[in-house]
Structure formats: structure tokens, C-alpha cells
């Protein structure tokens, strides 16, 4: 048993209908008396979203605009023999008809394996085989339906098992593609990428164990089901080669360079203007509508072209979370100490590689969970199939990895007769322990999170499972995780003070519901002691906004916060300089106080508060106040070599958390009710506590859907449930869960005010915790998600 460490007293808070608290473990640059950070703030984007004033992607329209629509393949795998466009051209209003031959260059962030429009063959159902632009959407859809394609059908690789035979190849010649150094396809196979991590000697570790446990886990294929479907509007002039795209995208600079490459123009000629995002979750990280809209606009002589996917296209032909089949083997001593763990995994990545190498990589480092394991081996493979394309989905594969290692921990606990929480506490990482890359772990609060999550459902007072008087089956379960943020990465921002003393932040960290346009101003407000109301984030445009890698990986508040704090110091210095001019004194005689006063040291009576800078006149006809903030993590990063992936610092920030669930299962109907969820995330420092709680609450309901409802079902490459009726996402009527959240704050030394990310981590342990509780309730080991009523009714119970 791990000994209970001394925890700081809880600061209890109450929000209407919600119970939550905060556990401060360690502070960084804060003392709890801050006025802006750590205080719940009204979202900057809240009112306009609530009243419907927000301009989303599809709200952008231009005079003379054409509508672009893709003609799509009904077949999952087929050779294209011929494409006939004549009938499409006959539809009145049609201005452009494109086929694969018009833009034959393939593209891709890791490997350029994907054509904009299929050329020689189609690799998934719904792949574009032609694209049309017309005066009306109706005409465009009509024309697209009249495109005739002659196909020669190929055998369909419907699933992983089929793909792993390598009999039918999705990509015959990986070597012909341009490939980055972070992607490892295997010529002559369906393997699009692989990842291998090795620490110590697993065989030696298994030999030392008293018990070796093996299990497997499978997570089904999920759709992001964004409320706003993919959309882009492009004006691309073939003569000037200037391209502008209005799009809701999470990765403006990544897409900019990709588009520049595809269309053979320098990056500076590609301008992405970002509209508000109606849901991202990784689904708007890839280029989907952007290249189609640009290609159509170029061929239309620069007329604006708008491409908006409907829900059917969204399901069939955008991106999804890949299926993964995992195998895990663990050696343990009788006291629960883990001696070795080996993980093997196979991703069903769909037809093109897209972001799967990054998913494979991030999940690989998280495959063993936040545990002390002296001997580890992780081997994972990205396999291609004729399914829709896998990509990032709120956690880059780490959610799936958590279901795997936590399922294994439950089996070990049962076999050893240990309490599942005790087994986790016995093995979890603490500061100073060695992680799976050989890194000395720091700022790790797994134990605090596990204990808080357990306390939030009164873990100690309830058994693993019980049956109530009406015959319902009850169970509890717990799960923890660690997730890295993509490293190295860089960001920058510009802070521009307006003539009236208000402040604009130029940053490409995108608001997509996670609240970053509120937290970024909070940093500036706290640093400058300025009124939060007077700070806002400017719209994002790649021709103006400074560089930021992407809005992914829960990195924005951490990285942009650091950049903003740096810029704020510059703003302070510039304001002091301006005051010195006005007061006709040396710049060194002016200081910026903690209370937000620009003050003369030699005469403290001479001062101007930041809220009065506009009226003070110090900026009048003086050099404008504008500052740059930059932050990057290349300096602290120790690149993990491809062989073994050992590294002293594989990431700038590990995110940590735990959740504990209580479920009630109807033994007759197999329906599951998530009754309680105790959540706990180490967020370093809650900048906007309400925002943190909303991230976690939303994650719990999303994860509930992943556990018992959501899956994309294919038969022979045909998607059967590509609509919102048959693909079940939880509704409000499924969201009645008693959620109690503890925000653990263990300040991160590199985080601004100690902050860590929370965009993805709320979701990572959710499915694992709920699945664990359902397995306990049903006295079985469910080894795949989703757990459906059928599985519950026809389960095999495990021997006690």
C-alpha cells in the first residue's frame, strides 16, 4: 500500500447544481490572491454564441459566389477506368467540373499519399471522384450526381484483420510518395506507420514476476460529429496566384503551408482567414474542404467558391477516430508491483495516413499509463483499410491507450485480490521516479488525482459491485492516465495597445469552445493589472497573426500564456518609457507596480494607473505601444530517437488525471446509467475555473457516448450508420450525471502561473472508468468499446 501523503486543505466552491473543489498542491508565481486568474470569468465568446451572432464558416458569403460540390465514390475500393463529365457540364449554371487529372499532386502532412480528387483508384466510400462548381448549390449537387465513373471493383479491406494479411494493398507503392521523417510506412504492406519504444528488458521483467497477465482491448471507430460540418470558401486567382480561404480550421499555419505546396505557390500568397469554429476536437485539423474550394476557384477564374459538406458527407468522407486493437501483457509481484509490461497495438487508420503517425506516437508514450514500470516494450502499427480516414480525436489516441492499461490494471487487481485503487496507488508515478522513456518525472500528481477522484464517489464506502433491491446491478470503476503535449512546438503573439488604452491580442490559438479567447486575456489582465473587459483577442488571419503551431494537444493556454506574459513585460517597459517622456525624467526612474501603476520612483505621487493610460495622454503622438511575445520548447526537448524512444525530456508537459465512475445496469434490458462521476485533473493552475469545469463536464458526457453508444459500423466497406439517427451521440436526456470535480493544482515550472492543459485530458480516463464500472457491475471483463446492451445481456461472467 502506498502511504497517504499529506494533502493541502480543500478549498470548497459551489456552483449552482454542481459540486466541485480545488486541491492546491503547489503554487507557481501565485499566492491565491490574484484578481483575474483563478477567478471564474464570463466567456468572451459567450454572448455572441448564445444570441446567434457568431459568424461560423458557412455564414461567409461573397457576391458572385459559386457553390462547390464533390461527386463521391459509392465503392470503398475500385480502380477508376474513366470519368465522364459531359452530363454534369449540361446542367445550367455549372462553371467548373474537375477530375483527379486536374490536380494530380498528392498531399498529406506526414506523407503525401492523398489526392485532392481520386486519380487512378478510390480507397474509401465517399472519396471525391470529381468536383463541380455552379451558380447555385442545387445545380452543383445535380451536376455532381450526373458524373459517371467507370470502376473496376477491387477486393475490399474492411477491417484490421483483413489489412494485416497484406494480400490486398491499399497503397501499392509507399516509396513513390514524399514522406516526412516522422512517418514510417513499410513498402509492400498495408503498414502506414509504426512506433517502437523499449526500456529495460521485458523478458527479464516477466521472469521476475509472480504473475503474468495478458489481455486485449479494442476501441471502435468514432466520428467527431461536429455541430458545424466542414466548410471553406476560397477566392483563388489563377493570374496573381493569390489564394484566400475563409475556413474554421484548427491548424491555420499547417494548412497554409500544405495549400502552398499543393497549388505550387509560396506560403505567403496563401491567406487563411479563420472563422469561428463550431466544434473541432481534432476533426478540423486536416485539410478537407480547403483544397477543393481553392481548386474550384482557380478553375473558375478566381470567382469565390464555397464548399460546405452535408451531414452524410461529414460521416462518410471527412475524418474519424481510428479503431484500435491492443494487446497487453504485464508481469507483477504478489504485492502488486509491476515488473514489466508489453503493449502491441494495431490502428485501423482508414484509406490515407493523415495524422495517424502523430496519434501512434502520442498513444505510444502513454500506452503504459502513469506507472513505474522498469521494463517496457511498446510496438504499434498503423494499418490502412478501405474505411474513412482516422485522425486526431480529443487526445490523439491516448484515450484508447488509457482504456487498455486501465482494463489490464483491473484484471491484475482481481487476480491478486487487491482493491483496484490500491493497485494503482502502489504503482503510480511520483516526482523523482523514472518514466517509460527514462525521464526523471516531475510535477506529477497522479496520486492526488486518484485519491480525489475516488473520494468524489466515496470509493471507500461502496463495494466493487452490488445488486439493489429492484435487481439492478451496480459497479464502480476508476482510471488514471498521463498524456504528453506535442513537443517541440512554438508560438508567438502580438499585444497591441489601442489609443484609448485597451489591448488587442493577436494570437493564432483558436477559440473552438475550449475558452482560449478568455484565458489569453486573463493572463494579460493579471500581469498588467488591467480590466479584463478591455482586453480582447483579434480575429485570426495568417497574413497578419503571428505564428502558432496548431490549436491541438491541449497546448494553447500553456504556450500562448507564456508568450503573452513575455509580451506584457515589454508593454510595461514601453509604457514606463512613454511616462518618462511625459514626466521628463529618466526611463529608469519609472516602474510598473504590481498594482498596475506606472509610477515615478523618485516621486511616487506621480503615477498613472493602467486603466487611465488612454486619458493620460502619454501615448499621444508617441511611438505606438506594441509588443511581441514568443515561446518555444525546442530548448528543453530531448528528441526521442526512433530506436527505443528513450528520452530525458520527451515533452514539455505531462497532463495527469483520474476519474471514478458509479454505474447502474438494468440486467433485463442491458441499459447502463452513469450515476456518478468523480473527476480529478491536475491542471497546474485553473485560470478560468468555470472553463475547466465545463471542459471536464463536457468530456464526461462525450466519454459516456464513447463507452456505451458511439461506433461507426461498416459492412464490406459500406458505412451503415452515417447519420445522426443511427450513430448514437448522448442527448441532454442522457446527461443527467452527478459529476463532482476536483481541480488539482500542482504548478508546472514552465507553465504560465503553473498552468497545464485541460482541453483533452478530461476525456482521457472517462471511457476507461465507465467501462471498468460496467465490467464490475456485470462481473465480467468487457474488452471492447462500445459496450452495448447485447454485450451485457449475453456476457460471460468471470470466476470469482
Amino acid at each position: 500500500m502506498a502511504k497517504k501523503i499529506d494533502l493541502h486543505p480543500y478549498e470548497a466552491y459551489h456552483r449552482e447544481g454542481q459540486e466541485w473543489d480545488r486541491l492546491v498542491v503547489k503554487r507557481k508565481d501565485t499566492d491565491g490572491t490574484e484578481k483575474v486568474i483563478g477567478q471564474s470569468q464570463i466567456r468572451k465568446d459567450g454572448v455572441s454564441k448564445v444570441i446567434g451572432a457568431t459568424q461560423y464558416g458557412a455564414d461567409i458569403n461573397f457576391p458572385g459566389q459559386l457553390y462547390g460540390v464533390a461527386a463521391r465514390s459509392p465503392h470503398p475500393h475500385a480502380k477508376i477506368l474513366a470519368v465522364h463529365t459531359e452530363k454534369a457540364w449540361e446542367v445550367p449554371g455549372v462553371k467548373v467540373v474537375l477530375t483527379g487529372k486536374d490536380y494530380p499532386e498528392p498531399y498529406g502532412q506526414f506523407i503525401a499519399d492523398q489526392p485532392i480528387i481520386a486519380l487512378d483508384k478510390v480507397r474509401y466510400q465517399g472519396e471525391p471522384v470529381a468536383a463541380v462548381a455552379a451558380e447555385t448549390e442545387e445545380a452543383a449537387r445535380e451536376a455532381a450526381s450526373l458524373i459517371e465513373v467507370e470502376y473496376e471493383l477491387l477486393p475490399v479491406v474492411n477491417d484490421l484483420e483483413e489489412s494485416m494479411k497484406n494480400e490486398t494493398l491499399i497503397h501499392e507503392d509507399w516509396d513513390s510518395y514524399e514522406c516526412s521523417s516522422a512517418c514510417f510506412p513499410k513498402q509492400g504492406t498495408n503498414i502506414g506507420d509504426e512506433f517502437h519504444l523499449e526500456k529495460g528488458d521485458v523478458e527479464k521483467g516477466f521472469a521476475e514476476a509472480d504473475l503474468v497477465v495478458e489481455s486485449k482491448f479494442r476501441c471502435g471507430q468514432l466520428q467527431h460529429t461536429l455541430i458545424e460540418t466542414h466548410t471553406s470558401t476560397a477566392i483563388a486567382n489563377p493570374l496573381t496566384q493569390e489564394i484566400q480561404v475563409w475556413t474554421p480550421n484548427q491548424s491555420p499555419f499547417g494548412i497554409r503551408s500544405l495549400m502552398g505546396k499543393i497549388f505550387g505557390v509560396p506560403a505567403e500568397k496563401v491567406r487563411l482567414t479563420l472563422t469561428d469554429i463550431g466544434g473541432g476536437f481534432g476533426g478540423k485539423y486536416e485539410a478537407k474542404c480547403e483544397p477543393l474550394a481553392i481548386a474550384l476557384s482557380l478553375k473558375a477564374g478566381g470567382r469565390p467558391v464555397k464548399v460546405t459538406y452535408d451531414r452524410h458527407e461529414e460521416f462518410a468522407a471527412t475524418v474519424c477516430r481510428s479503431t484500435v486493437q491492443y494487446y497487453i501483457k504485464t508481469g507483477v509481484k504478489n504485492d502488486g508491483t509491476i515488473t514489466a509490461q508489453q503493449v502491441t497495438g494495431y490502428w485501423d487508420a482508414g484509406a490515407y495516413v493523415t495524422t495517424n503517425p502523430r496519434v501512434d506516437y502520442n498513444a505510444g508514450f502513454a500506452a503504459n499509463g502513469p506507472y513505474k514500470i522498469p521494463n517496457t516494450k511498446v510496438d504499434t502499427y498503423v494499418y490502412m483499410t478501405n474505411r474513412t480516414l482516422g485522425t486526431a480525436y480529443r487526445g490523439f489516441g491516448v484515450t484508447e491507450a488509457a482504456t487498455l492499461h486501465e482494463h489490464q490494471m483491473d484484471i491484475i487487481a482481481r487476480k491478486l485480490g487487491m482493491d483496484p485503487l490500491d493497485l494503482r496507488l502502489h504503482n503510480c508515478l511520483h516526482d523523482g521516479d523514472v518514466g517509460i522513456t527514462g525521464e526523471i518525472i516531475s510535477t506529477c500528481a497522479v496520486e492526488e488525482c486518484l485519491r480525489a477522484a475516488a473520494d468524489n464517489i466515496e470509493w471507500d464506502k461502496i463495494p466493487d459491485r452490488w445488486v439493489d433491491e429492484e435487481g439492478y446491478l451496480w459497479g464502480k470503476g476508476i482510471a488514471c492516465f498521463n498524456k504528453l503535449t506535442g513537443t517541440p512546438s512554438t508560438t508567438s503573439c502580438i499585444l497591441k495597445m489601442n489609443e484609448n488604452g485597451s489591448l488587442y491580442i493577436w494570437s493564432a490559438s483558436r477559440e473552438m469552445g475550449q475558452g482560449v479567447t478568455t484565458t489569453m486575456p486573463q493572463f494579460a489582465a493579471e500581469s498588467l493589472h488591467m480590466d479584463l473587459e478591455r482586453i480582447s483577442v483579434s480575429p485570426v488571419d495568417t497574413s497578419m497573426t503571428p505564428y502558432d503551431k496548431t490549436t491541438t494537444s491541449s497546448r494553447s493556454t500553456f504556450h500562448s500564456g507564456n508568450a503573452i506574459l513575455e509580451a506584457c513585460e515589454d508593454i510595461k517597459r514601453q509604457l514606463c518609457d512613454l511616462a518618462a517622456i511625459k514626466w521628463k525624467c529618466d526611463a529608469e526612474d519609472v516602474t510598473y507596480t504590481d498594482e498596475g501603476y506606472i509610477q515615478r520612483l523618485s516621486d511616487p505621487e506621480q503615477h498613472i494607473h493602467i486603466s487611465e493610460v488612454g486619458q493620460s495622454g502619454i501615448m499621444h503622438e508617441q511611438p505606438p505601444v506594441i509588443a511581441i511575445g514568443r515561446y518555444g520548447t525546442s530548448d528543453i526537448f530531448d528528441p526521442p530517437p526512433v530506436e527505443g524512444r528513450q528520452s530525458k525530456r520527451p515533452t514539455v508537459m505531462w497532463m495527469i488525471g483520474a476519474q471514478a465512475a458509479v454505474v447502474k445496469v438494468n440486467p433485463v434490458t442491458g441499459r447502463v446509467k452513469l450515476v456518478k462521476m468523480g473527476a480529478s485533473n491536475d491542471i497546474g493552475k485553473a485560470i478560468n475555473p468555470t472553463g475547466v469545469l465545463q471542459q471536464v463536464e463536457g468530456s464526461v458526457i462525450m466519454g459516456l457516448g464513447h463507452t456505451i453508444m458511439e461506433e461507426m459500423i461498416y459492412e464490406d466497406g459500406n458505412l451503415r450508420n452515417g447519420n445522426m439517427v443511427d450513430y448514437k451521440v448522448p442527448t441532454f436526456m442522457d446527461s443527467d450525471v452527478d459529476i463532482k470535480i476536483t481541480m488539482v493544482e500542482k504548478g508546472h515550472p514552465e507553465g504560465p502561473y503553473g498552468v497545464k492543459g485541460i482541453g483533452e485530458p478530461g476525456l482521457v480516463p472517462t471511457a476507461a472508468a465507465i467501462a471498468s464500472a460496467i465490467s464490475h457491475a456485470c462481473n465480467t471483463d468487457f474488452d471492447s468499446l462500445p459496450i452495448k446492451p447485447e454485450h451485457i445481456l449475453f456476457r460471460k461472467e468471470v470466476a470469482d
Binding site: V668, N779, P789
Partner: protein, 314 residues
């Protein structure tokens, strides 16, 4: 996207019948018609909005006679009407579980019938309450028992120039009870994977006028006459209820599909029938003003998954 179409909104009933005979598609709430058009499932050049027709409007209850419902009656009306909860509880359960509140405000009973989906939530309850469909056209009015009104998958006993105008449901005595169970994967906005409705009158402890209907078990909503025969005239007992459930399970012929296996559906039919009969019988024993009280579920002998396990030591 919604294609272009001609919209007619007649106020004259005969004009509406003529338009329908001419091929215009009737629409009331539009929760099926427009959705199918929008999704590209249906291409309809002419739409006939029937909301102005007074022959299809209004809803009333007369003691001793029962319900007279215009085909335009929205599910939400049924859901919020106290008479329904006292006399036709299964009907309340069915209508209150259609889609979402918004859909229930727009969607109509006539539409639920004419759309013909085997998963329609209001139909099973109307079948067990012995509803009658009234259709009218240039040649006058016809009344057809709802069960007979369905002639096949999305097919009805209605002529091209006729419209469904009203639904009539007989009154229920105080010793009657009914129940509907809708099995779904989630708590709202879902179609019934399977549903069972039951109606029973209690003469002492003897069951009379038993009617059972199945939802999503066949190409049309259907009555399970075999199960009704098992119960008719029999005293209430756990055994007879389980026997009726077995009859339902053997009469319903669900198929395996990606949605669920046949084995699972048969098992559900069996178990849910037990719960629905239990609920209907309990309700029959209550006075009108208590019929809307919740009835706790109970597990019956032979129901799988009920074996209570000993509580573990804490």
C-alpha cells in the same frame, strides 16, 4: 438540401383530395416529409400542406364515447392532456417519447400513422386501445380499425383521393390499464429498436379484453394475437405473464442486422413484454386519479439476468 417544389395550402377539403390524387404529397408537421426531402431520400415536386383543413383539426374527449382526434393533433397535445394519462396511459407514454419536445410540438398523429414506420411510437398504444382510423374523400367517409388500416410496409387502406381525417379511440373503464415500453439506445431523439404495448381490463383478477401490440417487430406495427389468447380470461399470475411473453417472442420475427442481432431482439421482446404486462395490470387495479403514478419494475421468474448475487462484504 431541400430542392425546389410547388407548395399547396388549400382550405377546401375536396380541393385537397384532388391535389393528393394528382400526386401532391401531404404534409402536416413535416418532421418526416421535409427531413426525407432535405436528406435527398425523397424528391417531391408537389407538397400539399393540410394544416388549413378544418376536417382534420380539433381534439375532444367525451365520457362513455372516448377520444375524437383530428389527424393534425400534435403529440405534445396528447402528452400534456390529463384525460390521456387517466384513460390511455400507454398513449401518453408513446406520444411523450417521440423525438424531442420540438418534434412533438410539430409532429402529428396522422403523420405518425401515414408515415407508416414500424417504429412509430404512437401506433402500438393506439392499437391496444382499439383505435379506428377515419378516412374521407369525394365518395364520403370510411372508418377502418387501425390494425386493418395497415396493409404492408408503409402501405395503408387509403385511396389516392382520400385523406386520413380523424382517429377515434373508445373510452376505457376504470378497471382498465395500459402501458408502452420503448426500447432505445439513448434517452431522447431515438427510434424504438423495439417496443411493446399492452391493454388489459381486470374482472376481479381475471384478465379481459387483453390487447398486445409490437413496435419495430415486423414491417408494420402489429398486434400479437397469440399472446392475447394466452391471457384472455385467465387469472393474473406470474406464470401466465411469462407464458404470454414467450408467445410474443415466438410471434415477433425480428431479423439480425447491424443494429442488433435477432437473438437480442427476441430476448428483449420477451423481457419487455413481461414488464409491460406487469405495468398494465398494476395500473388496471388503480382508480383513475392514480393511474399516472409510477409503477416500479419487478423481475419475474425465468427472466435472465435477475439472479441476485450476494452482496459483497464492504
Amino acid at each position: 438540401m431541400l430542392g425546389k417544389f410547388e407548395l399547396y395550402m388549400p382550405t377546401d377539403f375536396q380541393e385537397a383530395c384532388a391535389l393528393k390524387a394528382n400526386g401532391a404529397l401531404p404534409v402536416a408537421g413535416g418532421t418526416d416529409v421535409y427531413v426525407n426531402m432535405h436528406g435527398g431520400k425523397d424528391r417531391v415536386p408537389e407538397v400539399l400542406d393540410i394544416k388549413q383543413l378544418k376536417e382534420l383539426q380539433g381534439h375532444s374527449y367525451t365520457e362513455g364515447k372516448g377520444l375524437d382526434l383530428g389527424a393534425l393533433t400534435a403529440h405534445r397535445i396528447i402528452e400534456r392532456w390529463d384525460v390521456i394519462k387517466q384513460h390511455y396511459y400507454a398513449f401518453f407514454q408513446g406520444c411523450s417519447q417521440v423525438g424531442s419536445v420540438q418534434i412533438r410540438y410539430r409532429g402529428t398523429l396522422g403523420g405518425n400513422i401515414m408515415n407508416g414506420a414500424p417504429s412509430a411510437d404512437s401506433i402500438g398504444p393506439m392499437l391496444v386501445h382499439d383505435a379506428v382510423a377515419v378516412v374521407a374523400g369525394p365518395n364520403g367517409e370510411r372508418s377502418i380499425p387501425l390494425e386493418k388500416f395497415y396493409t404492408g410496409f408503409k402501405k395503408h387502406d387509403i385511396k389516392p383521393d382520400e385523406l386520413l381525417t380523424r382517429i377515434r379511440i373508445p373510452d376505457t373503464p376504470e378497471n382498465a390499464g395500459s402501458a408502452y415500453y420503448k426500447y432505445t439506445r439513448r434517452g431522447a431523439m431515438d427510434l424504438a429498436l423495439m417496443g411493446v404495448s399492452a391493454y388489459v381490463e381486470l374482472d376481479g383478477d381475471v384478465m379481459r379484453n387483453v390487447r398486445i401490440a409490437l413496435t419495430t417487430a415486423a414491417p408494420t406495427p402489429m398486434r400479437s394475437h397469440a399472446a392475447e389468447e394466452v391471457l384472455e380470461g385467465q387469472p393474473v399470475s406470474d406464470d401466465i405473464i411469462v407464458k404470454a411473453a414467450e408467445a410474443v417472442a415466438s410471434e415477433g420475427k425480428p431479423r439480425s442486422s447491424w443494429r442488433s442481432s435477432a437473438e437480442f431482439r427476441v430476448r428483449l421482446l420477451h423481457d419487455v413484454t413481461i414488464q409491460v404486462l406487469h405495468e398494465a395490470i398494476e395500473r388496471a387495479g388503480k382508480p383513475f386519479d392514480q393511474k399516472c403514478e409510477p409503477i416500479p419494475e419487478r423481475l419475474y421468474p425465468g427472466q435472465d439476468g435477475l439472479k441476485p448475487r450476494p452482496k459483497e462484504e464492504v
